[in-house]
C-alpha cells in the first residue's frame, strides 16, 4: 500500500544542504506493523512526515494505494491525509480547549460527515479505547496514558487505512506504554497498517517487521536477519 522509491529529502539553509533522507526505498504492505528505529537525527520523523503527506520529498516517487502522491495539490494531499492516514504523536497533541469528544471530532469535521455520523464514529472510537465515559472531560483532566488513548481514538475515528505513530509511548511510563502498545497490536490485528517510530527495542520487536534508518537510508532488519540466517544455514549444511 505504501511504496517509496529513491526518496531524497534535502533541507537547504543558506549555503548548507542537509540530507535527511537519501536513496530511501521502502515498501509496506497492507496490514503490516512496521517498527522504525534508528538514532536521533537519522531521518525517522522526516520519513514519517513524508509518509503522512505532511512534507513533500525533494525527489523520488511515493505511491500510496497505487496512487502517486508526490505532486498533488495541498487540498488533495489534505484530503488523502484525512481519509487514509491517522497520526499518533509522542506528545499526544490534543487541543487543550476542546473536550475529548471535540478532539476526536476534529478529523471528522474536515471529512464532511453529518453530525449524527460523527457522533456515532466518535462514540465507537472512544469505546474502543475505553474512554466513552470521559467524553466531556478536557485533556488536562486525564492522565498521560488516557490522553494518548484519546489521540489513538482520534486517529482511528475516521477509519484510516494506516496509522503513523511517532514515539507513541515516549511520554508514558512502562505500564502505560505496554497498554498503548497492546492497543496498537489489537488495531493492527483488525487490519489497520501501522508504521511506528520508536526508540524502545522492546516495543520494536513486538512489531511484525523492523526497519532501521541510518543516515537517511533504510535497512530492513528482518530481511537482513533472514539473509544472515540463510547464510548460517548454508554454512552449517556445507560443514
Amino acid at each position: 500500500m505504501l511504496s517509496m522509491k529513491k526518496i531524497e529529502m534535502v533541507y537547504r539553509a543558506d549555503m548548507v544542504e542537509t540530507y535527511a533522507l537519501r536513496n530511501f526505498n521502502l515498501d509496506v504492505n497492507d496490514g503490516e506493523f512496521v517498527a522504525v528505529t534508528g538514532p536521533s537525527g537519522s531521518g525517522k520523523t522526516t520519513f514519517l512526515n513524508i509518509a503522512g503527506l505532511l512534507e513533500e520529498p525533494t525527489s523520488g516517487s511515493y505511491e500510496l494505494d497505487g496512487e502517486s502522491v508526490g505532486k498533488l495539490s495541498d487540498k488533495k494531499r489534505s484530503q488523502i491525509r484525512n481519509e487514509k492516514v491517522g497520526f499518533i504523536f509522542q506528545g499526544f497533541n490534543l487541543m487543550p480547549d476542546l473536550n475529548i469528544f471535540d478532539n476526536v471530532d476534529v478529523p471528522l469535521r474536515y471529512r464532511g460527515f453529518s453530525g449524527a455520523e460523527r457522533k456515532k464514529l466518535i462514540e465507537e472510537a472512544l469505546e474502543k479505547v475505553g474512554l466513552q465515559s470521559r467524553m466531556k472531560h478536557l485533556p488536562s483532566q486525564l492522565s498521560g496514558g488516557q490522553q494518548q488513548r484519546v489521540a489513538i481514538a482520534r486517529a482511528l475515528a475516521g477509519k484510516p487505512r494506516f496509522l503513523l505513530a511517532d514515539e507513541p509511548t515516549g511520554n508514558l511510563d512502562s505500564l502505560m506504554a505496554q497498554q498503548v502498545m497492546q492497543m496498537l497490536e489489537d488495531i493492527n490485528a483488525e487490519g489497520t497498517t501501522i508504521i511506528m517510530v520508536t526508540h524502545d527495542p522492546e516495543l520494536a520487536v513486538r512489531a511484525r517487521r523492523n526497519i532501521q534508518i541510518l543516515d537517511g537510508s533504510v535497512s530492513d532488519l528482518d530481511e537482513m536477519m533472514h539473509r544472515v540466517s540463510e547464510k548460517v544455514t548454508a554454512v552449517a549444511e556445507g560443514a
Partner: protein
Amino acid sequence: MFGYYLRLAWQSIKRNYIISSLMVLALAVGVGSFMITMTIYYYASSDPIPQKSDRLYAIQLDAGDIESDYEVETSADLWASLTYLDAKNLMEEDLPVVNKTLHYRFGTLVLPEDKDIDYFGAEVRATNRSFFSMFNVDFLYGGSWSEVDDEGKSVIVITEEINDKIFSGEDSVGRTLKTNDGDFKIVGVIKKWNIAMPYFEPYPHIGHEFAEIYTPINTFVNREPFSFNGSMNCWKPFDRGSHDAFLQAECAWVGFWVELASKDDKTQLLESLNNYTTNQKTLGRFQRPTNNFATDVNAWLKQHEVAEGPVRLMQSMSFLFLLVCLINTIGLLAAKFIGKSTDVSVRRALGASKSDIFKQNLIEVSLIGLVGGLFGLLFAVVGLRWVRELFGDSLERFSALDPTLIIMGVVVAIAASILSGIYPSWRAASEPPAANLKTQ
C-alpha cells in the same frame, strides 16, 4: 463548517483574551474615530431637502461697480447675497417661479415673563411667510404668519427649544413673547430642525446656528436702530446716518431663494434675471458684465465647501489613525497566530487544508472585527457627544448615528479586520504542517 469555525474562534478569543482585547480595543478606537468624522461628513454632505433640492435655487446677481476689480467665472466668485433693493425688486418682479423668499438675520434678547427664567440672547431670521413652505419647515403648533402679517405685523414663529424653555413645551400659539425689540404674538412653533445646518444661509458652514425666532422681514427692516448679523459687502459709499439710504445702498446682505415648478425652468429664470439686470442697467446700476446665477441646494453646499476643508482634513486624519490601528492589529494577529501554530499543525495533520485553516482564521478575525466594530460604535457615540459638548448645540444633529452609519461602522470594522487578518492568517495557514508537531 461556519458554525464550527465560529465556535473555535470564540474559544480562541477566550483563550488569548488579553491579545484579543487589545485587538478589539485597537479596532474600536480606530473605527470609532473614523465613524465620528464619517458621521460629520455624512451629515454635512447629505442632501438636506431631497424632495425639492433640484428645484430650490439661491440667486446671485453681480451688481458690482464698474471699477470693482474682480472676475466672475462661477457663482463661487460672487458674493452670496443680494442688495435689499434687488431682493425687494425681485419679490415684486414677475419671475417664472412658484415661490420666493428673502431673509437676513439678527440678534435679540428674549425676556421671559417667568422671573425664574433668565433672559437670553436669540438669533432671529427676518423673512417672509414663503420661507416655511419653501424649506419644508415642520410645525409643532400653529403655522406660518398670514400674508397680511407679512406686511410688518409683530408676529413671530419660535422654535421648539424656545417653546420648551419658556412655555414648558405647551402650545404657545396666541401667547406673547417679550424681547428687547418689543412684544410679539406667537403664531407658530416649529419642530427641531433635522438637518446639518441652515443651508439656505448666504454662507452656510458646519456649526452654523439655526435661528430660534422667525419674524416678517417688513417688521424689522425699517426699524432703527437697525440690527443685522452676518456678512455684508458694500461697493459704493452711502449716507451712513440715514437708514433709508442704507436700504437703497449697494450693499449685499439679503439672502434670496426661489422655488421652481420644475428644474427645467431654470433657463427661463436666468432669462428673467438677465432681463431684470438689463433694466437696472438703464438706471445706472449693474455696470459690470451680466453675471447672474441660480444655484440649486446641493450645488450651493458644494460651492461653499461645507463638506470640505476641516471636515476633509479630519476625515483624512481619522483614516490615517484607523490605518495605524490596523497595522497594530496585524502585529497582534501575527503574535496570536504564532501562539496557535501547534494547533494549526495538528489540524493540518488531521486533514485540514491550507484554505480550511485560512477560513478558520479569517472567521476568528471577523468575529474580533465585529466585536471591535460594536465597541467602535460605542466610542463613536461617546465621541460625538464629546464633539457636541465641545462645539455646542449647533452640532446636535451630528451626535446621532443613523442606521446607515451604524451598518457602515460594523462593515468598516469587519472589512478592516479582515484586511488586517489576511496576511497573518495566510502566513499561519502556510506554515509547514510538520513544523510544530514535536514541540508540544
